[in-house]
């Protein structure tokens, strides 16, 4: 038993520092940077939580995790109970504990953050989820609750799809997931590098679903291999969560030169195909000493840190606004800086220059300054006249974002889309076709893993209701 602590002692505990691999070591491999808390660290950090009666942190969580409750169980040294609480609310807690932007969600609302530092909710979430992964025998068996005789098909095995499938199978429905790529996980596998989210975590989550009875079939592209109409004949309900896709182009001269990648291609080559990291991979990747990544989101940071690990000496972020506006997570930016990534801020690319053989040689850039706020509330970058300069680069990676992929929707004309081509849903997550639900990036455009999971979680509930209301004919 650990000793009971006084309120003064509780307030005196400093926020835990996540142990991490040294920057010089990790820039030479793809090992996970954050090592996870020790049990002592987790216990101590859990004791920083004030157990506020009004639970200010919970509304900050898109899936509504019972944060004070799982932390309370942890603080009283009952990790199995903590795990049970957490897993009930968040089936992919091991993923969220790693990739969620807690600093702008739950932790931002934490009472301790008002005067000092918030409780490290994300680190605790990861600790408990990882513990559960290794101690399944100490948890109540997770099982599907009988069978309702209803079948649901889930399109896409990314965060939204996996979460929905988990929810639905636990409610007793028969669930099939169709995945377009040759492996599961969607953006969790092809997009997020292993130094942030190791593949074994995704494998574990997928294996868990399979053990609950979910069928997963890869290489099935809905809209091509099978259509939504065919799925409607075979299943009682459909959840579409096929992600975003379609990289948005830079629309500057030189975009098609050799050595210019869209972020998705670069990351897919390295993450999904293991190009440049495994001797067994026959997928090639271009490596250069100078790599310029355009954009300031998490995807841009993932690309630049990957480029660094593939051997780039100068791996840089080129972003047209300033540090204050950069959308990537603070932790990712700090990690990138520790790893020697250069940040070229207030800079917009205007042309990609070539060697005489058509390879990228440099990025012609223009300096920016911030003017008045735009629609997004961020100050609008404006060009500084006469500020053009050339930034040498052998690879340019476009990480400015993605748009809706029409592959599925083009073959399902009854599904109503918005102007951007994303699927329109009502407050239940249902599309314009009854029984067809949608969530994640195909609805939201480029959003986060946790928002996609929130959609998946809600879809499981609304689909379950739908199936109760609409007996199979």
């Amino acid at each position: 038993m650990r000793k009971i602590i006084t309120p003064q002692e509780r307030m005196a505990i400093k926020r835990v520092v996540m142990p991490q691999l040294a920057a010089e070591v990790r820039t030479r491999n793809f090992e996970e940077v954050n090592c996870g808390l020790s049990s002592n660290q987790a216990f101590t950090e859990a004791n920083r939580c004030l157990q506020c009666k009004n639970r200010p942190c919970v509304p900050g969580c898109p899936v509504g995790v019972s944060i004070p409750e799982f932390i309370c169980a942890l603080a009283s040294d009952d990790v199995p109970r903590s795990a049970q609480i957490l897993q009930q609310d968040n089936p992919l807690a091991s993923v969220c504990g790693r990739v969620c932007p807690q600093e702008t969600q739950c932790e931002r609302l934490c009472a301790r953050g008002k005067k000092g530092e918030s409780v490290a909710i994300g680190y605790l979430e990861r600790y408990v989820a990882d513990w559960a992964m290794c101690h399944q025998e100490k948890l109540l068996p997770d099982q599907a609750s009988g069978t309702t005789g209803k079948s649901v098909v889930v399109v896409g095995s990314g965060p939204a799809g996996l979460t929905a499938a988990g929810g639905l199978v636990r409610l007793g429905h028969t669930v099939t997931i169709f995945e377009a790529l040759h492996d599961t996980g969607g953006v969790l596998r092809y997009g997020i590098p292993e130094f942030r989210l190791p593949k074994k975590i995704i494998d574990h989550e997928v294996a868990l679903l399979v053990s609950l009875g979910v069928t997963i079939e890869c290489n099935v592209i809905i809209g091509k291999t099978l259509t939504i109409a065919e799925l409607r004949n075979q299943f009682d309900a459909i959840f579409i969560a096929n992600g975003a896709g379609l990289p948005v182009m830079l629309k500057i001269p030189g975009e098609n030169l050799k050595g210019v990648y869209a972020a998705n291609e670069f990351l897919t080559r390295v993450n999904l195909m293991e190009a440049g990291r495994s001797n067994n991979s026959s997928t090639p990747i271009i490596k250069r000493r100078e790599v310029a990544v355009i954009g300031g989101g998490n995807t841009a940071i993932d690309c630049v840190r990957t480029a660094r690990r593939l051997g780039a000496e100068h791996a840089m972020i080129v972003y047209r606004r300033s540090e204050a506006e950069i959308p990537a997570r603070t932790e990712e930016i700090r990690h990138a800086m520790e790893e020697g990534v250069e940040f070229v801020m207030l800079t917009a690319p205007i042309e990609i220059l070539a060697t005489k053989d058509g390879w990228v040689s440099a990025l012609r850039c223009r300096k920016m300054e911030l003017g008045s706020p735009d629609d997004s509330g961020r100050r609008r970058p404006q060009a500084v006249n006469g500020s053009d300069f050339e930034q040498p680069a052998g690879i340019v990676i476009n990480a400015i974002g993605t748009g809706a992929n029409p592959l599925l929707t083009a073959t399902a004309p009854d599904i109503t889309l918005n102007d951007q081509g994303n699927i329109r849903v009502n407050s239940n997550g249902e599309t314009s076709i009854s029984g067809v639900f949608a969530g994640g990036d195909i609805v939201r455009g480029g959003a986060t893993v946790i928002l996609a999971m929130g959609d998946g979680k809600r879809a499981a509930v609304t689909i379950d209701e739908y199936l109760g209301q609409h007996p199979h004919t």
Binding site: H182, E265, R269
Partner: protein
């Protein structure tokens, strides 16, 4: 897992493979392709579906051993299997009645031409097919194409079969002959061939369609690796193509991008040949 029903070596480095893929066999249309990955760790390779038997649930693929991954695919025997076959991808060919059409196939592009020519003929077109290769040993599918075309012209660079020279010579003759001038031309083959054909038909304003085979990863529009300039616009061959108006295709840009990995491919190809004992020379994979 997708079972290989048969695997026949039909000419140097070229194999005709029949693969069990019932869903794809049912949904595919002429002009579409699949992405194939032999085993864990292998590349994803786009391959045109040449034919399909929805009843038997099979698709026919022509695979040219041009790199390490394709070499490994063709060396997998009947009874073996391919781990991943995803498709059908890309848009089906637009098959309409044009009147007179000329279908031109170069090298392994001839295999892509086969379902297209067949569909055009079935739509009532008068189909003249021109195929070309380095030598008689590399001419493929001439019997099949002869059967489905109204006329077949064969050219070889060394003159070992048919007319000596390139496919462009008989094409020029047909274009110059008012009796034979076509309403549309279809070109599938090496980029320089398609480019030359586009130049020839542009001045005569004859509609020309080229089927492109750029670098691809996912084949679903997600990665942007297959992008090509069509007129002023960037298009993705996997979702917007693979067939495009040849007069608008930036062929130079396309062939340049296709050379991005040439250095790596040569190395891998040597290593694969070495592994399966095709060469006795020691080889090192970097």
């Amino acid at each position: 897992m997708f079972k290989i029903i048969s695997n026949d070596n039909i000419s140097e480095n070229l194999h005709k493979m029949v693969v069990l893929a019932p869903r794809i066999a049912r949904s595919r249309k002429p002009g579409q392709f699949v992405i194939v990955r032999l085993t864990e760790g292998e590349e994803r390779i786009p391959l045109t579906i040449s034919d399909a038997d929805p009843e038997a649930g099979t698709i026919t693929l022509f695979v040219q051993a041009a790199g390490a991954s394709t070499r490994n695919i063709v060396s997998t025997e009947a009874g073996g299997s391919i781990r991943d076959v995803a498709g059908p991808l890309g848009n089906p060919s637009r098959i309409i009645f044009w009147g007179r059409v000329i279908c031109v196939g170069g090298g392994v592009g001839t295999a892509v031409l086969l379902p297209l020519a067949r569909a055009l003929r079935e739509a009532g077109n008068d189909v003249t097919t021109i195929i070309g290769a380095r030598s008689s040993r590399h001419i493929i599918l001439s019997d099949e194409l002869k059967r489905i075309s109204n006329a077949l012209i064969v050219t070889t660079e060394d003159g070992s079969l048919g007319t000596k020279g390139f496919v462009t010579t008989p094409l020029a003759n047909l274009l110059a002959d008012p009796e034979h001038v076509p309403q549309a031309v279809f070109a599938v083959g090496p980029v320089p061939m398609m480019k030359a054909i586009a130049e020839m038909t542009r001045i005569k304003a004859i509609e020309t369609i080229a089927s492109l085979n750029p670098i691809m990863i996912d084949g679903t529009g997600m990665c942007g690796g297959c992008r090509v300039m069509i007129g002023e616009e960037i298009r993705f061959a996997c979702v917007d193509g693979p067939e495009f108006n040849a007069h608008l295709v930036d062929f130079d840009g396309l062939s340049d991008r296709m050379s991005s990995y040439r250095a790596e491919e040569t190395l891998n190809f040597k290593a694969a040949e070495c592994k399966i004992g095709l060469t006795t020379k020691p080889c090192v994979k970097s």
